[in-house]
Assembly symmetry: none
């Protein structure tokens, strides 16, 4: 559903690595955000990043700023990201998944900035002072700091996520082989399969005469537990017919 992140401004502050700028831009394209703003990037990095795969337009349109204040000037909500490590934070710190609903609802009414600091130091206290609050991605405490491009991807995934209510397609019920899963094999087919499998098992010596009835019940239950689609039952019937034929006429050539 394009357009839901139209109001999002992804702001990269003092980014060093061109690969990370490119990765951020690519993630934006993946999740439908298009407005990238960079604050004091390492010049060479920014130039190099402009060639990133699949995100050329985002990078070409990126705004370049010399201060956070300018970069977020038009935004009515400014949210900083942090690994939430040792530093004493002066702002409310919320978990990304918990606060995403608030951000989404603000996105409906106007521009929202999401700030990412440099790879080495994250956002400075000065950068953070421009933020209304901070979010952190819930990572492991001992290894909390994420790669920048990955952090951008996770944040955008979370923000774009719930704007797309799952369709029937998303539950896998109506795609591929599952479109036939709805059409389960009829009892008649399952019983035909049961009889064919029993015949094969008899011929091959699997069935002990004394417990033949019990074995048949076991096989019948097994085939029902499989919840076979009609087409899968057909597949099994075809395979078993050929096996049964070969067992009964071992000396002939296969059909």
């Amino acid at each position: 559903m394009p357009g839901n992140l139209d109001n999002l401004r992804v702001v990269l502050v003092a980014t060093r690595n061109p690969l990370n700028i490119g990765a951020a831009a690519r993630a934006m394209r993946n999740f439908g955000a298009v407005r990238l703003r960079v604050v004091n990037p390492y010049e060479a990095s920014f130039r190099e990043a402009r060639s990133a795969v699949g995100a050329a337009d985002v990078l070409a349109d990126a705004g370049e700023f010399t201060s956070v204040a300018e970069a977020v000037a038009d935004c009515h909500l400014v949210v900083g990201t942090t690994a939430g490590g040792r530093r004493e934070l002066q702002l409310p710190l919320r978990r990304l998944d918990v606060s995403s609903r608030t951000i989404r609802s603000q996105l409906k009414t106007g521009p929202v900035a999401l700030l990412f600091g440099s790879e080495k130091r994250g956002l400075s206290n000065d950068d953070m002072s421009h933020c209304h609050w901070l979010v952190r991605i819930p990572t492991q405490e001992e290894q909390g700091s994420m790669n920048l491009g990955q952090a951008v991807a996770v944040c955008l995934y979370e923000l774009a996520r719930s704007t797309q209510p799952p369709t029937v397609r998303d539950t896998g019920e109506k795609t591929g082989s599952n479109s036939v899963r709805a059409v389960l094999a009829h009892a008649e087919d399952l019983e035909r399969l049961t009889q064919l499998l029993m015949q094969t098992l008899h011929t091959s010596g699997y069935v002990k005469p004394r417990v033949a009835a019990a074995t048949e019940q076991k096989v019948r239950r097994l085939l029902r537990r499989m919840n076979l689609a009609a087409t899968d039952a057909d597949l099994w019937l075809g395979m078993l017919r050929q096996i049964a034929w070969k067992l009964s006429a071992p000396e002939s050539e296969p059909r």
Copy 2:
């Protein structure tokens, strides 16, 4: 919350770029997953990746395999990832956020494999035939394909998230009734079953040489669709062994 992803096996198939292997390993550390498995990586890439920042232990412990079958052998659920693009998929395709609950519940009971294909082509049809189903990250249609390291990060974020997505209702993940089912068969057993059935089908003349590979994939998918319990897989193995034995020694007496 450490430890939640202990049972997850992140499986990278034919990865080319060392930066992506390193990025995947780093995301794993961020979200508490530690078991990395690589299948046929480009050799130089894998060596180079071992120096990735903040993930040296994950990379040092990574298992290296020459086939998907071996890499997922001990897993009772195998999920492939795909951008879900143009290709005709032969498996159920579910949205990551919708299916994550099912995966999380399976993680509580045993090893689960999450497969990522190569940067260029994703998972092949043959790779996918080892999967029970596929997930896709809900991205924009026109720019669906994500960077590998970012895709791994987003998947792990979603799986590690402890809170349930508030807006997603229980959308009939009923096929995930496997989530309730006690002990599912391991991939290793399913693959043994696949090989035994293929052998039987070869002997009986069911398999046409020209399409043998396609038939094997079809059979592999069929057996995964059945969501066999471990005990039912055993039952099938026993039956097929006897049938195979009889086919190969038709003149002997049944055992």
